[in-house]
Amino acid sequence: MSQPANRGDRRVSVASHTVLTLWALAVVLPLAWTFFSSLKDSRSINISPFALPQVWRWDNYVRAWNTIGVARYLGNTVIVVGTALVLVMILGAMTAYVLARFRFRGNAFIYYLILLGNTFPIFLAVVPLFFVLKNSGLLGTYQGLILVYVAYAYPFTVFFLHSFFKTLSQEIYEAAQVDGAGDWRTFFQVMLPMAKPGLASVAIFNFLGLWNQYLLPTVLNPNKNMYVLSQGLYSMASQQGYNVDYGGLFAAVVITIAPVLLAYVIFQRQLQGGVSAGTMK
């Protein structure tokens, strides 16, 4: 069956590899440079960007972690993003399930109301939202930020899990009903476990979205002790002048990038399946 590869084919293959390698370098070089810079002292970063560190300054990481406060920012982020993620997955799945499996008046209205929130940019709501939180005493609290994160990740969660719950088998649902399981038990013990693949992709997207969030904490979380990572890194990088601790800044950037990047490399097979499943309906 196999035919000899002709010269044109080989040329295409070489050209493909060249272009792809150039792109891969464009991705990897800034990351590698960031990593090596995180191990230099601030002065040699400015002088010779390409040289490998002469002395490996692991103390940059110690400073980033303690003095600069990455430990605290990371802790705050884990509390806020972690809690919000768990909450929005539970609440979003519950709403999606009710809207997908029960027929009642107002069902379609509620569904479109939720879709609407996915359509408008956050910037439309952000100024009134600031005052909603201020007036309810939630401004600058973990609870306030968590509830806002939940509310803004909720439309996306409902939207994608809705189509997922629609596809689940009606027979199994009826069997559970016949066995005398109530609505609560049917959901938690029968339907939710069946929705696991859908839940996983949506959870990954919600995690990346909330981890990425910068506008909401900037407006709603003004207390420096409660900064999430994006705020902490911003306040550090936006300082001007000669006393910027570049070594520490690069170390903080590496600490922020590394965990998610490593998790991606380890789980990339499952993740890429989830990415295409999540975005393509």
């Binding site: 295409v12 293959s13 991705v27 440079w33 408008f120 952000v126 609505d183 990346l208």
Partner: protein, 305 residues
């Protein structure tokens, strides 16, 4: 049956009532308030802002800074989707069908590695991408200028990429494209893999070259995915707030990289709430129009096929 009814009521209250209350309180009510407050002169902590009709919108029409910002957003909303998608599509094509065509049509060897590496930037938060490129572009020891001087372009090696009014916006576009190409490449790869191999075989037997195959076969068959990408990247271009916060603080040189979201935010921090909210409404309408526009034009394309 009484217990069953009670159970169902509690079920609906918790499953629908509770999350909806949260959603209405934090999302729907601020949006509705926004439409009202954009018609007021709300500023400071005035409890009862006065109703001034369309005055804020009329002022926006005469606000040069707002138009500068809107123009920059328009540039971003056009250039970001085009560049990102063309690059992502080219890379996805090379990875899936760019290999030596001995026997079956297939991708290059090591396709998986390229795909995984390209996705790296998407796992990095926007603000960190901003910081990374702020350092890459830095005139003092930045990676780009170091690289340029290493390959002999010493005359370019002192360029202040983010400080030059002609270069700032372009430099920022490069940074944003860098962080999204891999994501859309992965999506397109998945879509292209869904195309039956026979179609590519047939096209090759007909003597179509690689470029023609990509343009005339791949693009129409994954048009839905491309449209999704256009909408998302255009919406990103209309926002761009997080990247600008680092790469063009206060709008960049001569406001050449100022975007509406930044201008809105600075009006918010100076307590011109009504005016800031009116900008938010305009931005929301533009966003809606763009999404609808892409949707409608994609429908037309389907009919033509």
């Amino acid at each position: 049956m009484r217990g069953r009814n009670l159970e169902r009521i509690s079920f609906f209250a918790v499953f629908l009532g509770l999350p909806l209350a949260l959603y209405v309180f934090f999302v729907v009510s601020p949006i509705l308030q926004a439409f009202y407050y954009s018609l007021t002169d709300w500023s400071g902590y005035d409890a009862n802002p006065g109703f001034i009709g369309m005055t804020n919108y009329a002022n926006l029409l005469h606000d040069n800074l707002f138009w500068t910002a809107l123009r920059n957003n328009a540039v971003l909303a056009v250039v970001l989707p085009v560049v990102t998608i063309v690059l992502a599509l080219a890379l996805a094509t090379l990875v899936t069908v760019g290999g030596s065509s001995r026997g079956q049509t297939r991708g290059v060897t090591g396709a998986g590695v390229y795909r995984v590496v390209s996705f790296f930037p998407y796992t990095i938060p926007a603000i960190v991408t901003g910081i990374l490129w702020q350092q890459v572009y830095s005139p003092q020891g930045g990676l780009l200028n170091g690289f340029l001087s290493a390959i002999g372009f010493d005359n370019l090696a002192n360029t202040p990429w983010l400080g030059d009014p002609h270069l700032a916006l372009g430099a920022i576009i490069v940074a944003i494209v860098w962080s999204f190409v891999g994501f859309y490449m992965v999506l397109f790869v998945a879509a292209i893999k869904g195309i039956p191999a026979e179609i590519y075989e047939a096209s090759r037997l007909d003597g179509a070259g690689s470029l023609r195959t990509a343009v005339q076969i791949t693009v129409p068959l994954i048009r839905d995915n491309i449209n999704t990408a256009v909408v998302y990247m255009a919406i990103l271009g209309l926002d761009a707030f997080t990247y600008m916060a680092i790469l063009a603080p206060t709008g960049g040189p001569n406001n050449q990289a100022l975007v509406v979201t930044q201008y809105l935010y600075s009006n918010f921090t100076t307590a011109k709430y009504g005016y800031a909210i009116a900008m938010g409404v305009v931005l929301a309408l533009v966003t809606l129009l763009v999404s609808i526009g892409v949707l409608v034009s994609s429908r037309k394309q389907e009919v033509e096929l």
